[in-house]
Amino acid sequence: VSSRGHGGGEAWPPHTACSAGGLEVLYQSCDPLQDFGLSIDQCSKHLQSNLNIRFGVILKEDIRELFLDIALVMKGSYVLNFSYPICEEDLPKFSFCGRRKGEQLFYAGPVANLGLDIPEGKYQVLLKLYNENRATVACANATVTCS
């Protein structure tokens, strides 16, 4: 449904995940089929170790297993690639692990985080959530501006 009326070529609109404390995070879904919702609480360039997010999406795929790949790009080149397992067969970290294709997923709660100060600058972050078959669950291009 979310894709209804969204003709192929059109991009999803950019959203603000957070904007405060010298930190602005904008994102845009790069999944051609759907948009998703994200907001980050306690937005600040001094990232707290206890970071809470809100995240809402329709699952296009089962998520018996779910992984998050993060790539940090600065001035056009990859600075950091990071892969984080969220749901694994033998370690389903979150209560939503095991949800099925079609279900609505809303998560509000903590995310693992290093608790660091973000250096000033503008970063591109590519995020991709995918399942055990490497099928995309959500995908985002984010711009992080720290001033």
């Binding site: 979310s2 209804r4 009326g5 919702g37 609505q104 809303f106």
Partner: protein, 620 residues
């Protein structure tokens, strides 16, 4: 009010109030119709199709105060959607499958006061944005999958008056969760249909509620223990046909001693080992509702309810009114006992201790006896008496003398057997409202309504006059203070021109569902500015004389009459066109003749009776 339709790609919104209020529900719309004026303030746009709403969706309606978007398939609300709607005060988003709400989803309105997010798939209150809800007074969250009432950090509760969690999955209330509610004063919290299984001790300590609804919860004693040290204006602990009820005992209700409750309902529970001790903790109550609690009698000697003001004992199974042991409740001002499951016998003087009683409802009780002075002994302050929907009552002269201060008397659908030639209602100097609809009265009795010097409102619906006619001499002539007169469904075929002569203050006359022709309207020739309902009669032609009488009234309902649309009636038809705003239910003002126009709406017919007298044409 008239209803003008405005078109939009062959789907029509309905105008409820010119330039202000529009209904566009169930039209399959996927955008705002161009024909809606920019000035629209109240917009009902439910059951349409708007998967994404954004600033362009309602952008031009800058004056919106009320927006109902029930079941519009809304998945996404973009953050700028209501950016320009500074006046928006009520937003209804019921039954939309919302995927996510951004922090700024409700930014824009200067004072958003009422928000409905019923059945939007919410699983956690963290789904709610906090931004720009500082003026929120009502928040409806029913039929979601919420399991904790904990509001998000910083959620503004200062002005919150209604918080409705009906039909969610809340089963436990902890102190942490309830602490966010302490700032709201006099909150109405609705937890109906949540089957509460546990409350942390102290969760409601020192909290003041306007109302608390725990309807359908299985364990009344658990709720009461959880409410220790709280103050609740109105506490609803009832059960339902489709939920389990509980056997309430003295122990179950002990928790009431530790809290302050003004009004309590225990609808549909059972009492076990009922005795005066059951009510030991009821002394603080002002109002008690024991509807359908399977009571056959109340114990005598209850000493804790000396100051109870209102008691509701409806839908129980008393046999005799004395079984309510009225002496237990000497301060009662309101007693409602209706829909008793057995035929109720009124007994003699069963209520005589209720000297302060103002309102008594004994309707739907199968009562069949001669009434009412013995039964209502000592109720000298009674102002309102409802005996409607009972079996035949026999009435003597001055049948209500025991209650000289009666202002309202409702006998609707109760067959009255008036056993004397004089009026049974005589000497009720303060009676203002008398409902005698469907009482099978003999309306040829000229004295029927004697002695009612204050009567304003008289309902005689469903009673029949002899020969289907109101003669010049009729019982109405004696009630000269009447303002509202209902004579609907009285099988009337004519009214004497002088029948209402003495009634100078009438402002509302309902003659609908009779067989009257237009000449009967002449009986109203002395009245001006009234509301007149002559729907569903036999009015066909309307003479200039009658038209003059209609012209001087304020609102007229002529629907469902076999109106003539030939040139014989041209004056009336022309008048209609010019007086649409004054006519009610014009949709159903239709032609019966000539055959070519049968069924056509008066509003669709074009008048054209020149010298050539060709007739009238239907204009589509």
């Amino acid at each position: 009010a008239s209803c003008e339709a405005i078109a939009s790609s062959d789907r029509m919104c309905t105008e409820r109030e010119v330039n202000r209020t529009y209904s566009c529900g169930h039209l399959g719309l996927s955008e705002l119709p161009d024909t809606l004026p920019n000035s629209t303030e109240v917009l009902e746009f439910s059951f349409n199709f708007l998967p994404v709403i954004q600033n362009t969706t309602f952008g031009r309606l800058l004056n919106l105060t009320f927006l109902d978007l029930t079941r519009c398939q809304i998945n996404w609300i973009r953050e700028d959607t209501f950016q320009s709607h500074h006046q928006l005060s009520t937003l209804v988003l019921t039954a939309n499958p919302l995927i996510f709400l951004t922090e700024r989803a409700f930014s824009g309105p200067k004072s958003l006061r009422h928000l409905s997010l019923i059945q939007t798939g919410i699983t956690s209150l963290e789904f709610l944005p906090v931004h720009n809800l500082d003026n929120l007074e009502s928040l409806y969250l029913g039929s979601n999958r919420i399991s904790s009432i904990q509001l998000p950090r910083d959620f503004p509760t200062e002005k919150l008056q209604i918080l409705d969690f009906q039909n969610n999955a809340i089963h436990y209330l902890s102190r942490d969760e309830t602490s966010s509610l302490h700032q709201a004063t006099n909150l109405s919290l609705n937890l109906n249909g949540n089957d509460i299984r546990g409350i942390e001790p102290g969760a409601f300590r020192s909290t003041v509620f306007g109302s608390l609804n725990f309807g359908g919860s299985l364990d009344v004693s658990l709720i009461l223990r959880g409410l220790q040290n709280s103050t609740v204006q109105s506490l609803w602990l009832g059960s339902f046909v489709d939920t389990d009820d509980q056997h309430l005992s003295r122990a179950t209700l002990e928790g009431l001693c530790g809290m302050s409750v003004h009004s309590l309902s225990l609808q549909k529970h059972h009492f076990s080992e009922l005795s005066s001790a059951t009510f030991q903790c009821f002394s603080g109550l002002q109002e008690l509702d024991l509807t359908a609690t399977h009571l056959a009698e109340l114990p005598a000697g209850i000493e804790t309810m000396n100051s109870l003001k209102k008691l509701v004992l409806s839908a129980n199974k008393f046999e005799d009114l004395c079984q309510i042991q009225a002496a237990n409740f000497p301060s009662l001002t309101h007693l409602h006992l209706k829909g008793n499951m057995k035929r109720l016998h009124l007994g003699v003087g069963c209520l005589e201790k209720l000297e302060n009683l103002r309102e008594l409802d004994l309707s739907h009780n199968d009562i069949e006896e001669d009434c009412c002075n013995q039964q209502l002994q000592n109720l000298s302050h009674l102002q309102s008496l409802n005996l409607s929907y009972n079996e035949p009552l026999g009435l003597q002269t001055e049948a209500f003398k025991a209650c000289p201060r009666l202002e309202l008397l409702d006998l609707a659908f109760t067959h009255l057997r008036v056993r004397v030639p004089e009026s049974p209602f005589q000497n009720l100097p303060f009676l203002r409202v008398l409902n005698l609809s469907h009482c099978l009265l003999d309306l040829s009795n000229q004295q029927l309504l004697d002695g009612l010097p204050s009567l304003r409102h008289l309902n005689l619906q469903g009673n029949h006059f002899a020969d289907g006619s109101i003669p010049q001499a009729n019982p109405l002539q004696t009630v000269r203070t009447l303002e509202t007169l209902i004579l609907a469904s009285c099988a009337l075929s004519s009214i004497h021109q002088e029948a209402f002569r003495g009634l100078e203050t009438l402002s509302h006359v309902d003659l609908s569902h009779n067989s009257l022709t237009s000449t009967s309207i002449e009986a109203l020739s002395h009245l001006k500015g009234i509301y007149l309902n002559v729907a569903t009669n036999s009015i066909s032609l309307i003479s200039p004389r009658v038209l003059r009488i209609l012209s001087q009234q304020s609102t007229i309902n002529l629907s469902y009459n076999p109106l003539d649309c030939s040139c014989s009636n041209i004056q009336f038809l022309t008048w209609c066109k010019e007086n649409m705003p004054k006519l009610e239910d014009t949709e159903e003002m239709r032609c019966a003749t000539p055959p070519s126009l049968r069924g056509a709406r008066i509003s669709d017919v074009t008048v054209s009776c020149g010298i050539t007298a060709v007739g009238l044409f239907l204009l589509i």
